[in-house]
């Protein structure tokens, strides 16, 4: 059974369509890039999958289920903006995640915080924007989830940290779980992806494996993206 599926998914904001009749599936064990220019529907798709928006028509299924309590147990979601409470320390955040999610692995989170030199006593309020993003990602990747939905996980951090974050993602996902990463920093993520989905104006315009694109077109996904979405 696919871990993630959209069936004729349509969502509009008033008269403006954000997703038009999108159908796709993602199998377990895959790392998928959800790529598209600004306003192409990436965040809308991820929010629909988390039950934060409801579709106008069609449906999203997570492991065969509609978004709800059961799917939240197996989906680890990194929103595009951090939602960490300012007054909490890193240690309190780990308590918080541990309370909410039975699959939260505190030892993993502690190890990653230590590796990035983030003190457990440091409060979110005292953290830089980049550090907040790192802490948020550490929390999200420390869950042993079936599906990780990462909305722009590397947007706000420097290139060296980007590499660390990508290796963190690869290191921590379970072999039978899947990751969907939305981003426009394609060159940075391309090597860790199995496949890519190009979204444009709410429609899927391409679905392919990274190596198939390189093999058939003789260019990287980044180069192909620039060509398809040339302004």
């Amino acid at each position: 059974m696919p871990i993630f599926e959209c069936r004729n998914l349509t969502k509009s904001y008033g008269a403006a369509p954000a997703l038009s009749n999108v159908s796709l599936t993602v199998e377990p064990g895959r790392v998928v890039g959800l790529l598209g220019p600004n306003g192409s529907g990436k965040t809308t798709m991820i929010k629909l999958a988390n039950g934060l928006l409801t579709p106008n028509s069609g449906e999203v299924l997570i492991n065969g289920m509609k978004p709800g309590i059961e799917t939240k147990k197996i989906v680890s979601y990194l929103p595009e903006r951090t939602y960490l409470s300012e007054w909490m320390s890193a240690a309190q955040l780990m308590d918080f995640f541990g309370d909410f999610y039975p699959d939260f692995r505190r030892d993993r989170a502690e190890e990653m915080l230590a590796r990035l030199g983030i003190s457990q006593q440091q409060r979110v309020k005292q953290m830089s924007k980049g550090t907040r993003e790192k802490v948020q990602l550490i929390m999200v990747m420390s869950r042993a989830a079936k599906l990780y939905l990462l909305d722009e996980p590397i947007g706000g951090v420097d290139p060296a940290t980007r590499d660390y974050i990508l290796s963190t993602i690869i290191q921590n996902y379970e072999p039978d779980s899947s990751i969907i990463i939305s981003t426009h920093l394609i060159a940075d993520v391309e090597k860790v992806l199995d496949e890519v989905i190009f979204l444009n104006r709410g429609e899927v315009v391409l679905r392919s494996s990274v190596d198939a694109i390189r093999e058939e077109k003789g260019k990287s996904v980044d180069e192909l993206f620039r060509e398809v979405f040339r302004c």
Partner: protein, 135 residues
Amino acid sequence: MKWEFRNDAPIYSQLIALMKLGIASGEFKPGERVPPVRDFALQAGVNPNTMQRALTELEREGLVFSQRTAGRFVTEDAQMIDETKRKLAEAQVRSFLGAMSRLGYGKDEIVGMLGQCGPADSGENEKEAAENADL
């Protein structure tokens, strides 16, 4: 090993070429244990499924072999390693001859130049030639 990838070829085939180079140059020793797929993928900064695909292909060609529980190892077949090395060398020569002929040099001239040539450089294009080696 330096894991750098070009844009115009699949990552798995570049991984294969890099590993062949590693085996031929002795950086991976005969009988040496290959790291587990996930660790190896992390080292190279690539997707584990891509690394798996590259290793499966190397296994199919016989350059690495699996032992049920112990993991993967570099072949101990010296003849096969020599053969790999020779094919890589031939590919280097062909690539060099191609470049020289585009510059307008014939074989005799090239042989003459080889005699007077200075020290070797660091060999940036080894991987590219390895991919074109059609092993």
